[in-house]
């Protein structure tokens, strides 16, 4: 049964140190308020998976020392420029990086979704991405002659963490077209979701909503967090807080500046509402 928790801090409390945590890109649905709760809590040794890439969540968690390893097709802040804490951590070898490519992450999660140990994938051969992934292999196509292809082990995260617009009281989550969130939930052992709003109606009773809904079967716990995707925004609901994101990138250029950011925008408030309103 899906648990309803009181706060994003409680939700963050469901993520033990050392967990492999899958998170979506900035344009999907980012549980930024939970990320801040993880930083407040002083989470450690997380193994972060970008599905298939990760943005501000990654840079912030890395800067705060919460992350031991990252697997992603990219860690990017998009138009806001290079990700300062990520780059610093990579250059100083503070985190273990497993570079991937977008479809390989989707395929690895689909293998977990199907309960199969691996998924074959075209492309990738001859790239240094493959060279540096000693957990990936190549095999001969059993239905072809002299046709090698890459096989990727299933990716089964301990936790899928994201933010969505709407839950209902049964624990169903409406994600609309952001179907990668459903894949994350199917593939992960636990799925933790912060939501803008909790509705009294049944999302599954209306086909229009059901088509874009993850059933509560896959949802471990939910906490309401209005504007919980601030500052990266939630498409269709509120835009990125561009000025704040620019300010973050400028501050995070130095270790001191980043600590400053954490003190002001993360540690100072237990509730994120104060900051994001």
């Amino acid at each position: 049964m899906t648990e309803f928790l009181d706060s994003v801090d409680d939700l963050a409390g469901q993520i033990p140190d050392g967990s492999r945590v899958a998170v979506p890109p900035d344009y999907s649905g980012c549980a930024m308020a939970v990320v801040r709760a993880l930083i407040r809590r002083g989470a450690r040794a997380l193994d972060l998976l970008g599905v298939p890439q990760v943005g501000f969540q990654g840079d912030m968690l890395i800067g705060a020392g919460c992350v031991a390893a990252v697997e992603t097709a990219a860690l990017t802040l998009g138009e806001y420029g290079p990700a300062p804490r990520f780059i610093q951590a990579i250059k100083s070898a503070q985190i273990r990086m497993r570079d991937s490519t977008c479809p390989a992450i989707h395929a690895g999660l689909q293998a977990a979704e199907k309960g199969i140990p691996f998924m074959p994938l075209r492309g990738i051969l001859g790239s240094d991405v493959l060279v540096h992934r000693d957990d990936w292999k190549t095999i001969g196509n059993p239905f072809g002659d002299d046709d090698r292809l890459v096989v990727l082990p299933a990716i089964r995260p301990d936790v899928a963490l994201f933010h969505a617009a709407l839950a209902d009281r049964a624990g169903n989550i409406w994600i609309g077209v952001r179907r990668e969130l459903m894949l994350m939930a199917h593939a992960s052992r636990q799925t933790l979701v912060s939501v803008e709003e909790i509705s009294d109606d049944d999302l599954l009773s209306d086909d229009r909503y059901a088509a874009g809904t993850i059933p509560s079967l896959y949802i471990s716990a939910i906490a309401q967090a209005p504007r919980g995707a601030w500052p990266v925004g939630l498409k269709g609901y509120y835009p990125p807080d561009a000025q704040h994101l620019k300010d973050y990138v400028a501050l995070a250029a130095t270790e001191d500046g980043f600590q400053n950011y954490v003190e002001t925008f993360i540690n100072a408030s237990r509730s994120d509402l104060d900051v994001s309103a």
Binding site: S92, P103, D128
Partner: protein, 262 residues
């Protein structure tokens, strides 16, 4: 009069005419505008899937659909860049120096390691044509330009469009060939800014400049369309304000989320 970006947009658009479906990845305003220009003059036959767009992006199966769609053979052209590009069309989106402790680190390979193999016409694009980018050999191969025989590879590099010139790529010769130089450039200026060897005619022709009709389309309809995804770019290039914020969001954004549901 036209701007460099306009020249590049028109140059790329010409490579897309006649295709059925062009996809454009993130942070690609010039390729995006080129795709929309080609679409505008295709009389409805060119479909454009523009990452980040609401109006020009029909995908409904999550992040994997772009890649599955390419593997199904339903995408004719795509664009890739490179922090480094070498003469065999290898691209590097990862880092400079040692992989484990690099001198420079970039975001990562994104989908390049895959799409470069599967999309028939991959157009490389760079606004920095310098020896720093156009290197003899990339430090990290995010995606190789060519593959040995036996590797399943319906796709690959088609051209390299830079701020100085246009190259075609020959998969057989595994080399770039200079096609045209932009106004103000010549073979020498290109050679001295390119770290890899390439084929070239003795006197490369000049890149065709945009027609008045193309510029009009670009500064009108295409500019307004690209402003949906790249408002800063459209403002800078053509002083086009995003026509209407509502186009970026569902019509019902103003209502509360609850109201959307009930």
């Amino acid at each position: 009069m036209y701007r460099l970006e306009e020249l590049l947009i028109v140059t790329i658009a010409t490579m897309l005419d006649g295709l059925g479906h062009v996809a454009v990845g993130a942070a690609s305003p010039v390729p995006g505008a080129a795709a929309l220009l080609a679409r505008a003059r295709s009389q409805g036959s060119l479909r454009v899937s523009l990452l980040g767009s609401r109006r020009h992006n029909a995908f409904t199966d999550g992040g994997r659909e772009l890649f599955d769609c390419a593997a199904q053979g339903r995408i004719d052209a795509f664009f890739l860049g490179g922090a480094q590009i070498d003469g065999e069309a290898n691209i590097n989106l990862v880092g400079v120096g040692d992989y484990r402790q690099p001198k420079a680190r970039f975001p990562g390979s994104f989908g390049s390691s895959y799409l470069y193999f599967l999309v028939p016409r991959v157009i490389l694009f760079s606004l920095e044509h310098s020896p720093r980018v156009m290197v003899p050999k990339v430090d990290f191969i995010s995606a190789p330009g060519v593959s040995p025989e036996g590797v399943y590879r319906p796709g690959g590099p088609y051209a390299l469009v830079t701020n100085r010139c246009v190259f075609a790529f020959s998969r057989e010769a595994r080399r770039f060939r200079l096609l045209t130089v932009h106004p103000g450039e010549d073979l020498d200026s290109v050679r001295s800014n390119t770290g890899f060897d390439f084929d070239a005619p003795d006197a490369p022709p000049e890149t065709p400049t945009p027609s008045e009709a193309e510029l009009a389309l670009l500064r009108g309809r295409v500019g307004r369309e690209i402003a949906e995804v790249y408002p800063a770019f459209a403002k800078r290039q053509w002083n086009i304000e995003e026509v209407n914020g509502a186009e970026r969001q569902p019509a019902s954004t103003e209502e509360s989320i609850g109201a959307r549901f009930h």
